[in-house]
C-alpha cells in the first residue's frame, strides 16, 4: 500500500508514546515507593516506646518525641477549630449569598491566592502581628499561622460541595416555612456533611506537615510544654533541626518523626478519600 511507510511511522510513534506513558507512571510509582521505603527503613529503626514517652533530648542523651507530637497535635487541633468555623462560614457565604456577585468573585479569587500562597510568608505575617508585639514566641501564634493556611482549603471545599446540592432542596425547605439560616444549617449542611468533613480532613493533613510557618511563630521547645502562650515543640521544626544536625541519634529521631508525620498524613488522606466515596446515608 502507498501508505505503508506512513503507517509504520504512525505505529512507531504510537508505540513510543505508549512506552513513555507506562514509563512515566513507573517513575511516579518508583518515587513513591522509594520515599516510603526510606521512611520505613530509617524510621522504624528508631521507633520504640521512648519516642512516645520522652521529650526531645540533648545530643548524646536519651529521649523521644513526646513534646513534639503533643505540641503538633495541640496546635493543629486549635488551628482546625478556628479554621473550620471561619472556613465553613465563608464557604457558605460564597455559595449561598454570593454566587453571582462581583464582591463574591473577588473573595473567591483571593481565597485561591491565599490557598497557594507560600506558607513562609504567612509565617512572616504572623511574626509581625503576633510574635513581635506580644514579645514572645507561642503556641497560639503557631496555631494562628496554621489556621490561616487551613481556612482557604476549607472555604473552597465547603463552597464546592454546597454548590453541588440541588437548589430544589433549599426551595423545598423554605416552602415548608423554615427561615434561610435554618435551611442552610439543618438541610444543606447536613446533606453536604460528608464533603465538608473530607475538606476538613484534607486541610488537617496539609497543615500537620507544614514547617515554614512554625519556624518564626512557635519556635520550638526542648521540654514538654502544654502552655500555649510559650514556645511549643512541634514535629516538623524538630525534624528540621535534628535532620540537619551531625549527631547520629538526632538524625535517627528525625527519620522516625518524618515517618510518623508521613504515615499520619497518608492515613488521614486515605480516610478522607474513602469517606468521599461512601454512599449517602439516607
Amino acid at each position: 500500500m502507498i501508505a505503508a511507510p506512513r503507517r509504520f511511522g504512525r505505529t512507531l510513534g504510537n508505540a513510543v508514546f505508549l512506552v513513555f506513558c507506562w514509563a512515566a507512571t513507573g517513575v511516579a510509582l518508583i518515587a513513591l515507593a522509594a520515599i516510603l521505603w526510606s521512611l520505613l527503613r530509617q524510621g522504624i529503626g528508631g521507633l520504640d516506646l521512648k519516642v512516645f514517652t520522652m521529650s526531645t533530648p540533648a545530643p548524646g542523651s536519651e529521649g523521644g518525641l513526646l513534646n513534639a507530637i503533643l505540641g503538633s497535635i495541640m496546635m493543629c487541633t486549635l488551628a482546625m477549630i478556628g479554621a473550620v468555623i471561619m472556613g465553613v462560614l465563608a464557604g457558605t457565604w460564597l455559595s449561598e449569598y454570593a454566587r453571582n456577585s462581583r464582591y463574591g468573585s473577588v473573595v473567591r479569587f483571593l481565597n485561591d491566592v491565599l490557598l497557594s500562597a507560600p506558607s513562609i510568608l504567612v509565617g512572616l505575617f504572623v511574626y509581625e502581628i503576633i510574635v513581635a508585639p506580644t514579645k514572645g514566641f507561642s503556641g497560639y501564634a503557631g496555631a494562628v499561622a496554621l489556621a490561616l493556611l487551613a481556612v482557604p482549603v476549607i472555604t473552597r471545599t465547603t463552597e464546592d460541595v454546597l454548590r453541588l446540592q440541588p437548589v430544589a432542596l433549599r426551595e423545598a425547605s423554605v416552602a415548608l416555612g423554615a427561615p434561610v439560616w435554618r435551611t442552610i444549617l439543618a438541610v444543606i449542611w447536613k446533606a453536604a456533611q460528608g464533603g465538608m468533613l473530607t475538606g476538613a480532613l484534607l486541610a488537617f493533613a496539609r497543615i500537620s506537615g507544614e514547617t515554614a510557618p512554625l519556624l518564626f511563630t512557635s519556635l520550638n521547645n526542648q521540654f514538654l510544654n502544654l502552655n500555649m502562650s510559650q514556645p511549643m515543640a512541634n514535629l516538623p521544626v524538630v525534624i528540621f533541626q535534628f535532620a540537619l544536625s551531625a549527631y547520629d541519634d538526632w538524625r535517627r529521631l528525625a527519620w522516625t518523626g518524618a515517618m510518623l508525620i508521613a504515615v499520619s498524613v497518608l492515613a488521614v488522606t486515605i480516610i478522607a478519600r474513602l469517606l468521599a466515596r461512601e454512599p449517602r446515608r439516607s
Partner: protein
C-alpha cells in the same frame, strides 16, 4: 448592605419575624467570615509592603538587578534569589510536565480497569507527603544517588580546561539547583497529573470514539483530539503547578546549597527566595537585612500572584491546586 439579590434562595412567605432576624444575623456572620478572609490576605500584603519598604527605598530598582547579598557591607540584591526561584521552578516544570501528561494519559487510556483506582490513589498519595519529608529524602537519599550516578560521572567526563568543565563544576555532594528542581518536580507531579486527568476525562467520549473509529492511534487521538480540547485548562494546570513550586520552602532549603550568587554551572548551588527567608530571617539583626528579607517575600508574593491570576484567566474555577 443586602446581598439578597444574589442569594440563592429567598425566604418563603411562612417565615416568622424571629426567623427573619436570625436570617440577617446569620448572613452577617457568613459575610464577616468571608471579609475577614479578605482582610487577612490584605493584611499579609500590607505587612510585607511596610516591612520591605526600607529596602526598596534604599536600593530602588537596583534591588532587582544586583546579585550581591552582603550583610557586612549592607548591600542586598534580590537577583540571585529571584533567578534561583525562577530557574528551579521552571526546571521542575520541564521535568514534571511530560511525566504528568504521561501519567494522566496512562490513567485515562491505557490502564487496566482493575488497577485504575489503586494507581490513581498512589499518585495522589505522592501529593500528600509533607514537604519536610521530601527535603529529608532529597538530602539523604536522592543527593548521594545524584552525586554518584549523575554528577560525578559528568564532572569526570568533562575534559580539563574546556567549557564543559566550567559547566559541570560544582560541589560533588549532590546538592544544587538541579537536584532541588528534580525534587520539586516530584512534588508537583501529582497535582498536575490529577488535574490533567480530570481534564482529559471531560473530553466527550463520542469525539474520542469517532477518532478511534477512523483508525487513529492512541497517540494521534491524544495529540489531535484530546489535548487541543483541553488546551486552556492544561495550561492553567501548568500554571498552578508552577505556583506551587515557586513557594516551596522546606524541600528546597535542604538541598539547594544556600549560595547567594548567580548560578554558573548546571550543578551550581543557589538559593530561592523561600529558602533565603527560612535560613536568615530568625537571625537577621540589621534593619536593612530584615527589610530586604521581607522585600524578598513581597517579590515572591507578587510573582505567585501573577502566575495564579494567569491560571485563573485560563481555566476559570475548574482545576484544584
Amino acid at each position: 448592605m443586602s446581598e439578597a439579590s444574589s442569594a440563592i434562595i429567598e425566604a418563603g412567605p411562612a417565615r416568622t419575624a424571629r426567623g427573619a432576624a436570625l436570617d440577617r444575623i446569620f448572613e452577617a456572620l457568613c459575610f464577616s467570615a468571608a471579609t475577614l478572609l479578605l482582610a487577612a490576605l490584605g493584611g499579609i500584603i500590607v505587612a510585607l509592603a511596610i516591612g520591605g519598604w526600607p529596602a526598596f527605598a534604599k536600593f530602588g530598582f537596583h534591588f532587582f538587578t544586583t546579585a550581591t547579598w552582603d550583610p557586612v557591607a549592607e548591600v542586598y540584591g534580590a537577583l540571585g534569589a529571584i533567578v534561583g526561584t525562577l530557574v528551579s521552578s521552571t526546571l521542575a516544570l520541564l521535568f514534571a510536565l511530560p511525566l504528568a501528561l504521561g501519567v494522566a494519559v496512562f490513567l485515562v487510556e491505557l490502564c487496566p480497569n482493575v488497577l485504575r483506582r489503586p494507581i490513581g490513589t498512589a499518585v495522589e498519595l505522592l501529593a500528600g507527603i509533607p514537604s519536610i519529608v521530601y527535603g529529608m529524602w532529597g538530602l539523604f537519599v536522592f543527593a548521594p544517588w545524584f552525586s554518584k550516578y549523575i554528577q560525578m560521572p559528568a564532572m569526570m567526563a568533562a575534559p580539563v580546561g574546556s567549557i564543559w568543565e566550567t559547566l559541570t563544576a560544582g560541589v560533588p555532594n549532590g546538592a544544587g539547583i538541579l537536584s532541588a528542581s528534580a525534587i520539586l518536580a516530584i512534588m508537583i507531579l501529582p497535582f498536575m497529573a490529577a488535574t490533567l486527568r480530570e481534564l482529559l476525562l471531560t473530553v466527550p467520549s463520542q469525539v474520542r470514539e469517532s477518532a478511534y473509529g477512523l483508525g487513529s492511534t492512541t497517540f494521534e487521538v491524544m495529540r489531535k483530539v484530546s489535548l487541543p480540547y483541553v488546551r486552556t485548562g492544561a495550561i492553567g494546570a501548568v500554571m498552578l503547578g508552577l505556583g506551587r513550586a515557586l513557594g516551596e520552602t522546606m524541600a528546597v532549603t535542604f538541598i539547594i546549597g544556600n549560595a547567594h550568587g548567580l548560578p554558573t554551572s548546571i550543578f551550581a548551588s543557589g538559593s530561592t527566595i523561600a529558602s533565603t527567608i527560612a535560613n536568615e530571617f530568625a537571625e537577621a539583626t540589621g534593619e536593612m537585612h530584615t527589610a530586604s528579607l521581607i522585600a524578598l517575600g513581597l517579590v515572591l508574593f507578587v510573582i505567585t500572584f501573577a502566575v495564579l491570576a494567569l491560571a485563573r484567566l485560563l481555566i476559570g474555577r475548574q482545576a484544584h491546586a
